[in-house]
């Protein structure tokens, strides 16, 4: 979408070229017609199997559960030092409930007892604050790019090493 918008903004406006009339704009258009006008690349690779959702939405949903997991770890670490009772209660609840679905975990925690409800509200607040202020999104992107590059190089290097070794024997 952004790509399409950017290409539209970059594309020079086209005017109707009348024969006999010559101007800088029309001669530039003629030149582009002669050399072939290539709009900037806009087509994205098609990823099937996501229906109405998108890979970004799927990744965001996974990150959402990950932020809840991190918020539980942050709150536990905070409680451990100054409120042992609440820490023990939350630890006991964590041992009994799966962390795979963050929202499901919070939903159950809120209904356990009024004290647990306070903990759930705190976890929800922390996951919101962490994802908006503390999580380094630029760093995530940089690390993911680096990881893909390094993995591709390593896989190819290992393969070459292995096949060279076979050829040597």
């Amino acid at each position: 979408m952004e790509c399409c918008l950017a290409s539209l903004l970059r594309a020079p406006s086209l005017s109707i070229v009348l024969p006999g009339k010559s101007s800088r704009r029309s001669s530039s258009l003629h030149l582009r017609q002669l050399v072939g006008f290539h709009p900037s690349r806009c087509q994205k690779m098609f990823v099937p199997g996501f229906g109405e959702a998108s890979p970004e939405a799927k990744a965001a949903a996974n990150l959402h559960h990950f932020f809840t997991f991190l918020a539980i770890k942050i709150v536990l670490a905070q409680l451990q030092s100054y409120n042992r009772e609440a820490y023990e209660e939350l630890m006991e609840f964590v041992s009994r409930n799966s962390l795979n679905d963050g929202d499901q975990f919070c939903r159950r925690l809120m209904r356990e007892s009024p004290r647990h409800k306070g903990l759930a509200l705190r976890i929800m607040e922390v996951r919101s604050a962490y994802s908006k202020r503390d999580f380094e999104w630029d760093n995530l992107q940089m690390l993911a790019h680096k990881m893909v590059d390094e993995s591709n190089t390593r896989l190819m290097r290992d393969y070459v090493k292995e096949t060279s070794h076979i050829e040597d024997n």
Copy 2:
């Protein structure tokens, strides 16, 4: 890191205050000592249990596997229309091998046969191109923030509805 740098840039330089000497800078320092000097917030929330790694690195590793999964889906969709034989071969390999570890999948695919090696190289190329050009990182961040906000609102609204209902009866 950025936050620390910003606070350092904002913080006015401190000078040694000699008794008896008065200047605009020293009186400003005295004033700050009287009212209490609060540097801007720089401390991030501590997330325990990641050792030398970081939550960003963990999330990037998950995204890395996700990109491999997407690249396999993209290549399969491309092959389906113009190379049925290669499509069937890759589908058969996918049915026998787990997609949880993207690198492990590519490593095995490269060693299956020379034709499979070509497919593995293409998957590796696609995951790199997709993650760098086509994946909408800004959209991911926006969706994750929206998801946290909406989930928190929904969880609290459901709880209030439920407890109000109990009180009504």
